[in-house]
Symmetry: C2
């Protein structure tokens, strides 16, 4: 069984990339075979794993325009069982190019799902990092997810506001493109125990979403924002930090949920 | 003379909305007539100013589809000389709808510029808050700017990475849509003096961009993230906070630059 998750939230800077890279690294450390799919044109997940997107010969863009298969572009990272399908800045043009090149709205929404299918047998988990928007690229991520959407929610007021819009997009994609799509879980991020606002946001999100909110809360931890500049996940850069323990616990919690299901 | 600035950066969560709302409030407090234009479908600038986008009768979406003028939708805020052109979630569909409805790529890039022209005489400053992407909506913001782009740069590693992509988009828009477009300035945000990474990012950005970086640095300050939940800019919510002093100094610095020009 391969678990494919989309990690999405149109609010910017809430910890989508940080969650994909670090949750992925701890799932791999626990013995799972993991593929990280970076479909954000910023290519942040690619650089967080030590690769420079502009120096890679091919990326997901080439797969979407039919000039490569996913297997062609998959790159090894410096962690065992953790592979990457890299992004590139060229993906930014996909939105406009695809609307003109592929008139059928369904086909252009399934580009990622169709690309993933032949390689699924090689992986236990696929984590898709999406950009901060609800356009065609994120719709592709939502259409490809077999086990739902993981939503990082920053413990800030503005990050809560956008959840309604995200839920209605998930519902729209569930009805038209992916009947299996559901909200697999919310992950509270950048929680600062010294700050009242963090506790308020946590209380409100748990009150509204109940046990769809992971018990594990990711604290604000400077090591998490330093790690990308070394091109390593927190599991290698600072394995004894609060940020590392939190993402390790999150990986355990996700695997336990899936064993119980 | 009306100064129209686009506040843009495709990296999410770097302080675009916080800068538009608070810089705008201090420009208004200093006697300038200010219009905030919220073209982000998240409508965060709208809610930071105490308005609920879903309860407003019309928004920029109606202006772009030709069912209202900008003057019809401009809303007063609870601060004198600070008006708002509100956003709505409907704007999220503009990207796909406009490509199908307006085949001419130039016309659909000038929707905002053309909407602004009749009302410019009423304002000294227009600040445009854009979404975290480089698609049609942000291109509209860049095409409408008469005095350039203000780029908030969060003092984090990943936020620096995206600057190259932003600069090439600015150049592309300058050549094809808006010959006046240039990088008016970079604003360092969420600077934390206790954290080495902040000082490193500041040093690198100043070394690369020189005096295009504002001297004023916006510190990480919890009052700035609390203010949106009260629907007020920091100038009303916590006028004696470090965040308030910084945005006041930024407004002074921008006005001084414009007087000297
Ligand atoms: N728990 C944390 N503690 C401290 N810093 C964090 C934490 N999580 C993420 N960061 C930092 O905050 C910034 C935003 O995180 P990240 O880039 O992962 O968010 P994102 O949602 O992927 O952003 P975008 O919307 O641009 O894709 C980054 O600089 C990252 O290093
Ligand atoms: N200097 C600061 N100190 C502390 N918190 C801040 C500061 N500036 C912004 N914030 C908070 O950080 C979060 C991101 O800021 P903001 O929403 O303004 O960024 P943005 O670039 O507009 O995001 P998006 O890419 O989603 O549009 C918000 O919750 C905001 O309240
Ligand atoms: Mg990201
Ligand atoms: Mg914003």
């Amino acid at each position: 069984m391969t678990y494919i998750y989309a990690i999405a939230n149109q609010k910017g800077g809430v910890g989508k990339t940080t969650t994909v890279v670090n949750l992925g690294a701890y799932l791999a450390a626990a013995g799972q075979r993991v593929l990280i799919v970076d479909i954000d044109p910023q290519a942040n997940a690619t650089s967080c794993l030590g690769l420079v997107s502009s120096q890679l010969p091919r990326s997901l863009y080439d797969v979407f325009v039919g000039e490569a298969t996913l297997a062609d572009i998959i790159t090894l990272t410096n962690r065992i069982r953790l592979d990457l399908a890299p992004s590139s800045h060229a993906l930014a043009a996909l939105e406009t190019e695809a609307v003109e090149a592929i008139p059928d709205a369904f086909r252009r929404s399934y580009l990622l799902r169709d690309a993933l299918t032949p390689t699924l047998h090689r992986y236990d988990y696929v984590l898709i990092d999406s950009p901060p928007s609800l356009g065609l690229i994120t719709v592709n991520a939502l259409s490809a997810a077999t086990h739902g959407v993981l939503v990082p929610v920053q413990c800030e007021y503005l990050a809560m506001e956008g959840l309604g819009q995200l839920l209605s997009t998930i519902e729209r994609v569930r009805q038209s493109l992916n009947p299996r799509l559901y909200l697999a879980g919310l992950i509270l991020t950048m929680h600062d125990s010294r700050v009242k606002l963090s506790a308020q946001v946590e209380a409100e999100v748990r009150a509204y979403f109940g046990d769809r909110v992971f018990r594990t809360v990711i604290p604000r931890n400077i090591r998490l924002s330093e790690a990308p500049s070394y091109g390593e996940p927190i599991a290698s850069y600072a394995p004894n930090s609060a940020g590392a323990y939190a993402y390790q616990a999150l990986a355990e919690e996700l695997m336990a949920r899936n064993r119980a299901a």
